[in-house]
């Protein structure tokens, strides 16, 4: 009796891994059926939980040989279905690869395994005066491997950049099971910047098994302000004034009335009563610099009509200000049974116009939208509220959510600033990119994973057949032809 490929894989996985590292029981498999985007659910055919990079590479090698698709999963906090399992495939869970191998103060580096929790890197580096800058709101639970896959951002990436700016090297298991080093301990490794392509590739090019990250010196001074305005327009004007003055705050976050109401109900963060919008502004750096910026920021907020400016005097007060913002997604659960978290980007200057359009969209459809966003870089996180028990409410919410993405694209933005495309937004990719643009991206895919077994079905709506010569197209880029852009 010949074994099926899956049976062969299970047999080999059992030989490779400890007993509890191979899951085939259907009830247990179901616990892995989704990530943070819970309305997409697929039960994987097999779950493996390797304890070493060698084991992980061996599993991938078997997958390549047997042509079985695999999907990597870290903490499963992703919000775009990036680690949604494949029904005929194996889910490779990296949570047991969680060693912090090195914290090297003199080199300003840390070497970690992919299952390490984001905040734990900072916790390990703080005693020597350093921290890991990218800070997604889920940083208490999300993993570095997942951060690398998604190129995670966070509130402080306005000033400090994203995961891609903080990852220097990685040990990488390619789709054929080969282990290679990408990047290096020192900057500017010779050759193509493969690491730059891998970061943010959502697990479709391979799996990282070790990551070298940059550590940043803790700032001498941090000042956190909570500023209340009667409208998002006025809050937006304050942001514009701050940016125009050449100040790059560590973070500028905005929340509108509905988001404030939700946060207040959930975590009692004490945000100003009756505010139409609040800004959370954080300045950090050398004390002399921060003090000078602080004076200006307060002045700009006053000039644009702030009715309350509160400055955190203690770490506890700072924590409470951030608690309201960082718990915003979960908090809307207090004011709505169901909600969709959207993630789009616009040029920052389009903020007032886009917010007005979202309000109109909301009023027209009767679907409530709470707005939380990184105001400094135009990354919106509208929370579209609905009650799934009401017939048609889910569809209406989906439509509003899609409409918001269309608004982002109309203003020259992006369909995702940090959550990724994953399973959720592949259909939107052709709205943002022309066919040739997507085709070009997929040349990278073909180089890394010609058989498309690494997280198939994500990002791209239509896979490229690797090895095919693209049809020669005549003339200019569609956007050029439309007169939209010469180049951008």
């Amino acid at each position: 009796m010949g074994l099926t490929p899956l049976e062969t894989l299970i047999r080999r996985a059992r030989a490779l891994l400890p007993e509890d590292g191979v899951i085939t029981d259907h009830a247990r498999l179901r616990t892995y059926e989704c990530d943070g985007l819970a309305h997409y659910r697929v039960t994987p055919a097999l779950v493996v939980i390797p304890e070493t990079a060698e084991q992980l590479a061996a599993i991938v090698r078997c997958c390549a040989e047997l042509q079985i698709p695999y999907v990597a999963r870290g903490s499963g906090t992703g919000l775009s279905g990036g680690s949604l399992p494949h029904a005929e495939g194996v889910l490779v869970v990296t949570s047991r690869l969680r060693a912090i191998k090195e914290i090297r103060r003199e080199d300003q580096r840390a070497v970690v395994e992919p299952g390490v929790i984001n905040l734990d890197v900072t916790r390990a580096a703080t005693p020597v005066g350093y921290y890991y800058a990218p800070d997604p709101s889920s940083q208490q639970v999300c993993s570095i491997g997942g951060n690398v896959a998604e190129n995670s951002g966070g509130a402080h990436c306005l000033k400090y950049g994203f995961t891609t700016n903080h990852v220097l090297a990685a040990e990488f298991v390619a789709a054929d099971g080969d282990r290679v080093r990408l990047g290096g301990d020192a900057p500017d490794s010779p050759g193509y910047d493969l690491l730059g392509a891998v970061v943010g590739s959502e697990g479709t090019l391979g799996i990282v098994t070790e990551v070298t990250v940059r550590l940043v010196r803790l700032p001498e001074k941090v000042v956190t302000l909570l500023v209340g305005f009667d409208s998002t327009d006025r809050a937006g004007a304050a942001v514009s004034a701050i940016i125009a003055a050449g100040i790059v705050p560590a973070a500028i976050e905005m929340m509108d009335a509905l988001a404030i109401e939700a946060a207040e109900a959930a975590v009692h963060c004490g945000y100003p009563d009756g505010a139409g919008a609040v800004l959370v502004i954080e300045l950090d750096g050398p004390a002399a610099e921060v003090d000078a910026e602080y004076a200006d920021v307060v002045r700009f907020c006053e000039e644009t009509g702030a009715f309350e400016i509160r400055t955190a005097k203690t770490p506890e007060e700072r924590f409470l200000i951030w608690k309201g913002r960082k718990s915003a997604f979960a908090a809307v659960g207090r004011i709505s049974p169901d909600y969709i978290v959207q993630d789009g980007v616009i040029p920052r200057t389009a903020l007032p116009e886009v917010l007005r359009a979202i309000t109109e969209l909301s009023e027209r459809s009767g679907v409530r939208v709470a707005n939380v966003f990184h105001a400094g870089d135009g990354n919106l996180h509208p929370l579209v509220l609905f009650d799934d028990a009401v017939p048609g409410a889910g569809d209406a919410a989906e439509e509003v959510s899609r409409g918001i993405l269309d608004l982002c694209l109309q203003h020259g933005g992006s369909i995702t600033g940090e959550h990724g495309v994953g399973a959720d937004k592949a259909a939107h990719m052709p709205k943002m990119y022309a066919a040739d643009d997507l085709d070009t991206m997929q040349l990278v895919r073909c180089a890394f994973d010609p058989d498309r077994i690494s997280n198939p079905g994500k990002i791209f709506p239509t896979p490229r057949l690797c090895g095919e010569r693209p049809g020669r197209r005549q003339g200019a880029h569609p956007l050029q032809q439309a007169g939209v852009a010469e180049v951008f």
């Binding site: 080199d107 950049g161 080093r181 050398p286 002399a288 610099e289 990119y433 010569r469 180049v487």
Partner: protein, 388 residues
């Protein structure tokens, strides 16, 4: 024009397109004719890298030199690849902004800087081209026009193809335009410079600055026959800069403060236009600085001590055996400190006798990327690592 060569190889002819569409047309014609194409901007780094195995067309992109868009409120700018860095910076300076990239070779264009990933002291503040590029328009080897990224700083939709192009030396696609994130021009700049007694002392001073909380925009070391200097650039508001330079003066006893950069700041330690030197780039972990200064010895070295990148100039009249020995010594030292040693530029006769790149991890994967993007090896064939 006729004396232009690409690492000593004279191109068959020069084409000078004025738009992305014309570049695409030239590329499609090159496909039909089976010709090779080497893109160039101002030509300041045409002598870098291996000699191409073929250069039928030198694709001069210097006419693609418009600032297409500058959205100052969004701190972004879009320019043609042939735009000189200096001109872009002049343009955006009117709004108090800058592209935080040093012009390491006078006249360098945006495209040439992108293709070679050159960087200077400011990389400590803002990173390199890879960190500042947010969108790119390219013409592929098959003549297809494509774009990657976009016009917003925060964007994770699809692969970051732009990063693959950075430093690819014109071997993957012809970049015709690029969009960048800009930074505000600081109100005040001060250099704090001090002389170090020896390599160990320079390393000690460097570490002191690194672990301080003064957030330098640049931390450079310059080792020459005249001595060893450590220079720190601090940028910000006048009152902030005053406070930070005061701290640095304490960390660097005997330091001088100046509102002008020290000689050679942001320039390579070799004469940009001569073929009298080999230009070598070394990278290393921050803790490897003293060893690198020692390994460079009397040749000296200059570069970003705060980042782990430096440059060594070697007189070209040295005996080839001596040059090889030095290269080996630098490779061994950078290897020990997690880095690499690359010969950026050298006279042709010497170049042919050296391994310019040293060991390149993941080279096989790089070849696969090349073969997907440029299966006929039409673009800058042979100029890059592993003969790519």
């Amino acid at each position: 024009m006729s004396d232009i060569t690409v690492s000593g190889v004279t191109p068959g002819r020069i084409e000078r397109p004025t738009s992305t569409a014309e570049v695409a047309e030239i590329m499609r014609a090159a496909v039909s004719a089976g010709e090779s194409v080497v893109p160039t901007g101002a030509g300041t780094k045409l002598s870098w890298g291996n000699p191409p195995t073929s250069a039928d067309i030198l694709l001069d992109l210097s006419a693609l030199d418009q600032v297409i868009e500058h959205a100052s409120g969004d701190l972004i700018a879009t320019v043609g690849a042939g735009t000189p860095l200096a001109r872009l910076n002049e343009h955006v300076a009117a709004a108090g902004q800058r592209l935080a990239l040093d012009e390491t070779v006078p006249g360098a264009t945006v495209g040439g800087t992108l293709a070679t990933n050159t960087s200077g002291p400011l990389r400590m503040l803002a990173g390199t081209m890879r960190d500042l590029l947010i969108g790119v328009t390219m013409v592929r080897a098959d003549g297809v026009v494509a774009k990657a990224g976009g016009k917003v700083v925060k964007n994770v939709a699809g692969y970051d193809v732009g990063k693959l192009l950075v430093g690819s030396m014109g071997t993957l696609a012809v970049v015709t335009g690029a969009t960048f994130r800009l930074h505000p021009v600081p109100q005040s700049r001060r250099w704090v410079g001090v002389t170090a007694h020896d390599a160990a002392h320079a390393a000690e001073l460097t570490q002191a600055v690194l672990h301080s909380q003064t957030v330098p925009s640049g931390l450079e070391v310059d080792a020459t026959a005249d001595g060893l200097r450590v220079d720190v650039l601090v940028e910000g508001r006048p009152e902030g800069v005053a406070g930070r330079t005061a701290v640095l003066k304490q960390l660097l006893p005997g330091a001088e403060i100046s509102d002008r950069p020290p000689a050679g700041w942001g320039r390579y330690p070799w004469d940009d236009t001569s073929d009298r030197h080999l230009g070598i780039k070394v990278t290393f972990r921050l803790s490897g600085l003293a060893d690198l200064i020692e390994a460079a010895g009397e040749l000296g070295l200059r570069g970003s001590a705060g980042v782990g990148v430096a440059y060594v100039a070697v007189p070209a009249d040295r005996d080839i055996t001596e040059i090889r020995t030095l290269l080996e010594r630098l490779r061994e030292t950078t290897g020990r400190h997690g880095g690499s040693t690359v010969v950026l530029d050298a006279p042709q006769s010497i170049k042919q006798q050296l391994d310019l790149w040293g060991p390149v991890p993941a080279l096989e994967l790089m070849r696969r990327v090349k073969n997907e993007f440029d299966p006929d090896h039409r673009l800058s064939p042979g100029r890059f690592v592993g003969g790519i």
